[in-house]
């Protein structure tokens, strides 16, 4: 064990050393020339010429994120482009403290500061203000969260609880995906890619304006991706689909801004699921496509009221239709939110809001071993929150306190209070601390869900099953988080951010065995049943630190590093009947993660970017296999992108992903994924070429 850990570290060290050498050698050339030349060129231009010159918009986020008393990391549109990623979950690898593991071609396990799982039940995910977290099985179906990646303005990743503002289930973090205003996406964009794993993606987006105050855009995209590597050749996980949508931004007058947007999609996602039935054959592995479709429509009104007041009113409708080989859910969600900002006495900045969401789900029984009772149900969420940011010493010290009150059909009123302190002793140093309480609300998965697993044939030829019965007494999972962070700018080109946390959890999700086998006659035929249910039988804590420096050695070169350490300790609470899920929970989140990245402009039209990542082993991730010690090992891999601007309209890029080995597993099976892999799926080395055409606007 120790040897493995050590060798893992040595490998990291060796690779980092190589990177540092690669980074430093050109830096030694001490090349500040281009910057000055360029500035000299710029100042020769006239006003007209300046306003015609096309610019890149690198992250301004260190400036904005600097004063935020939370562990925030912002992935910019440029970061996404230069990382060469083709999906939103892959883009999340850029953020420290986020664990992204690709389970297979169309599934990911994502966690923030621990508890990585297929659906990430403790992480709240929003796209343009629309919550995509589902109360069906508690979490986010990552494979259907997509848009034109070029139109994403930024992804804000907040590690740690964000319940006060963002709402329930923002226990371990919030992922907030924001697309660009329509003003910034005018003209035509057409792109196509093809490669070894990315069989092909074609995207077209067109933006235009009716007048200066009303702009619109619409898009369509289609994709097809191959399966990952399966040692047993069950290449079930290829997927393809299409999505279309649009957005209108209307400025009625400077004080009133409206946004209307919507999307529709239809995907086929290959998956392997277990179908359990009380009648023979009792259990089958089904390799089939899930048919996933849906759509949404959102309207928002931003109003500046004057005298330091402004509000936004937002309403949306979302439909998701999941038809998997073993169950189906048709869900309609309606949501209404009101938020007002109000500053008064020059030192108070109040935000308060009200929200209501109704989500109607209709679950069809496909196999008798996986049912919901009742099969049709409306989930309710009512929220009210208040937060005040109080400036104690102007520009030096501020305190933010607030709480959210929420009510769902699963819980009575639950508060989510928080207190945050921000201290900026100088303009280049910031220290923050936070104490927060957050809850993960129960979902249909615990309250109305019946999940059966086949155990075997008992003497007399009678089949035996274990079944998780619905637990109407399942309580919210509770957490108390304590965080301390530090940010520093050194000169103009070096920035670093350190965040540390200690989080205590109780009433955590457990899998409880309630008794012994007994004979059950309904549903027929007669069978033995071991009763079980999801309970609140675990407690524990997590602690860790995330260190993420950034260095810009020259104007055309950006280097970033992040290291995340996580330690989880989970135990049974007194009287717990948990079957023994702890090693699986702790062993599914990596203790160490490293991400190092270089973005370099070689010339005016050539860019070269690469990254290196290391993830420590996941001993909790082992498939149902007879091979001893068969689990997800630590891995290092790298990605690279070479971009070539052929002319002002045409951009060609070559991208290689997972370059350091032919394939490597990142995750095993996941209970929530319902999969039944007998071999770990390897994530393949792959390459693709991409052509992007942008109209000269």
């Amino acid at each position: 064990m120790l040897r493995r850990v050590l060798s893992g570290h040595l490998r990291v060290c060796a690779c980092l050393f190589t990177l540092v050498v690669a980074f430093v050698s050109p830096a030694l050339a001490g090349d500040q020339g281009p910057s000055e030349d360029q500035q000299n060129n710029l100042k020769q231009l006239s006003l007209e010429q300046l306003s015609q010159i096309e610019v890149t918009t690198p992250s301004k986020e260190p400036v904005k994120a600097f004063d935020t008393p939370a562990a925030i990391f912002v992935i910019t549109s440029e970061d996404i482009r230069r990382a060469g990623v083709t999906t939103i979950p892959e883009a999340l690898r850029l953020a420290p403290g986020v664990e992204v593991a690709r389970i297979d071609s169309n599934k990911w396990s994502i966690g923030i500061r621990g508890f990585g799982s297929r659906l990430a039940r403790n992480v709240l995910v929003l796209i343009d203000g629309r919550t995509v977290y589902t109360t069906l099985l508690a979490g986010t179906y990552w494979e259907v969260q997509d848009t034109v990646l070029e139109d994403i303005d930024r992804i804000e990743v907040i590690r740690g609880p964000g319940g006060t503002i963002w709402g329930p289930n923002a226990v371990d973090g919030v992922i907030n995906i924001i697309t660009k205003p329509v003003k910034e996406t005018q003209g035509l964009l057409a792109s196509a890619d093809t490669g070894s794993f990315e069989h092909g993606t074609a995207t077209i987006r067109y933006g235009s304006a009716n007048s200066k105050d009303l702009q619109y855009r619409f898009y369509g995209k289609g994709f097809s991706r191959g399966p990952e590597y399966h040692p047993d050749n069950r290449n079930f996980d290829d997927w393809f689909g299409g999505q279309a949508g649009g957005r209108v931004d209307w400025q009625r007058d400077p004080a009133n801004n409206f946004t209307f947007q919507g999307d529709i999609y239809d995907d086929r996602d290959g998956e392997s699921v277990v179908a359990t039935t009380y009648a023979p054959p009792y259990q089958q592995v089904l390799d089939d496509y899930a048919r996933l479709s849906g759509g949404n429509f959102l309207a928002r009104w931003d109003r500046e009221q004057g005298e330091g007041k402004s509000f936004e009113l937002q309403a949306y409708y979302d439909r998701t239709n999941r038809r998997e080989p073993n169950f189906a859910d048709l869900r309609d969600t309606f949501d209404l939110d009101f938020t007002q900002h109000w500053r008064f006495f020059s030192n108070n900045n109040v935000t308060w809001g009200l929200g209501a969401r109704f989500s109607h789900g209709h679950d069809l029984e496909v196999v008798s071993g996986l049912t919901f009772d009742p099969s049709e149900r409306t989930d309710r969420l009512l929220t009210a929150f208040f937060q005040d940011e109080i400036t104690l010493v102007p520009k030096k010290l501020s305190l933010t306190v607030g709480t959210k009150l929420l009510n769902t059909n699963f819980t009575a009123f639950a508060p989510e209070p928080s207190a945050r302190v921000m201290w900026t002793p100088t303009r280049t140093t910031a220290v923050w601390a936070a104490a927060t309480h957050a809850v993960r609300t129960p979902s249909d998965a615990e309250r109305d869900f019946y999940l059966t697993g086949f155990v075997g044939i008992f003497p007399g030829g009678i089949p035996a099953f274990a079944r998780f019965n619905a637990n109407r007494n399942f309580q919210p999972e509770q957490m108390n988080g304590y965080e301390l962070g530090f940010r520093q700018m050194l000169g103009k080109n070096i920035y670093f951010d350190i965040a540390s946390f200690y989080t205590h959890y109780h009433d955590l999700f457990s899998e409880d065995i309630l008794g012994g086998f007994s004979l059950e006659t309904t549903p027929p035929p007669p069978h033995y049943l071991l009763p079980a249910e999801f309970g609140n039988g675990l407690l524990g804590d997590t602690k860790g630190i995330e260190f993420s420096p950034e260095w810009r050695p020259a104007d055309n070169w950006r280097l970033r590093l992040s290291y995340s350490f996580l330690h989880m300790s989970i135990e049974k609470s007194p009287g717990s009947l948990d079957i023994g899920t702890i090693p699986g929970i702790i062993g599914s989140s990596p203790e160490h993660q490293v991400y190092a990245e270089s973005q370099y402009d070689l010339t005016k039209s050539l860019q070269f970017d690469f990254d290196y990542r290391y993830v420590s082993d996941l001993p909790g991730q082992m498939p149902y296999s007879t091979v001893p010690n068969y689990y997800v090992r630590a891995y290092s891999t790298a990605d690279a992108r070479f971009g070539w601007q052929l002319n002002p309209n045409l951009d060609l890029s070559f991208v290689g992903r997972n370059l350091l080995q032919p394939h490597h597993p990142e995750f095993g099976s996941d209970p929530a994924a319902d999969s039944f892999n007998v071999a770990l799926v390897g994530i393949k080395r792959s390459a693709y070429v991409k052509l992007t055409w942008t109209s000269s606007r």
Binding site: S51, E54, K212, N556, K604
Partner: protein
């Protein structure tokens, strides 16, 4: 005992031509190895947003008339709050002067320090308190500039906006005139919008 029935055993799609794939890898490897050599002294691709904004700040001086002579015989471009420009602004004004008055860059934390400034760029770090800041700054003959949304609505004079990947600017003429500044018609012609109604509250 585990029964397995692959209801839909789909053949995998044919792999793409391995030759293309290997060629791509070789290309990437070659670039990886060459990069430290190629690196030397190539100008970066397109300028960044802040570099162009810095150039504008430098240019604006020629298109604005102030009611008073330059304080301390210096044309001071002040950055209020956290500096987004890095070395860009310093290098652009280095050694430059306007009508014999040398340029300088100053960093200030409060509007009370702005009396020696010609242009005040209000950093996005001050977004939360921009309204009281502008009330104070309006008492001084300084050109207020920012790249945050709603800056001109709140009484700012020049607001950078990003349009189709280009930095443009909008002008609030009323705010500028209230502070005694005269903006040349050339400046207004280039502006993407000129507002005459002033701030709203």
């Amino acid at each position: 005992m585990r029964l397995r029935t692959n209801l839909n055993s789909r053949a995998s799609l044919p792999a793409s031509a391995p030759a293309v794939y290997i060629a791509l890898l070789l290309l990437l490897t070659a670039v990886l190895l060459l990069s430290p050599i190629v690196v030397v002294a190539q100008p970066p691709a397109t300028p960044t947003e802040t570099q162009v904004e810095a150039a504008f700040l430098f240019k604006f001086g020629s298109f604005v008339t102030w009611p008073n002579p330059a304080p301390n015989n210096t044309f001071a471009i002040c950055v209020l709050g956290r500096d987004p420009f890095g070395p860009a602004l310093d290098s652009i004004v280095k050694g430059e002067s306007l009508d014999g008055v040398p340029f300088s860059v100053r960093h200030i934390g409060e509007p009370s320090e702005a009396s020696a400034c010609r242009i005040v760029f209000v950093s996005s770090s001050e977004q939360e308190r921009v309204r009281p800041l502008l009330t104070e700054l309006a008492k001084l003959p300084v050109l207020t500039v920012a790249d945050m949304p709603h800056f001109n609505d709140r009484g700012g004079m020049v607001q950078f906006v990003l349009e189709n990947g280009r930095v443009r600017f909008e002008v609030n003429l009323t705010s500028a005139e209230k502070s005694g500044l005269t903006l040349s018609s050339q400046l207004l012609k280039v502006a993407s919008a000129v507002k005459r109604d002033g701030g709203r509250d």
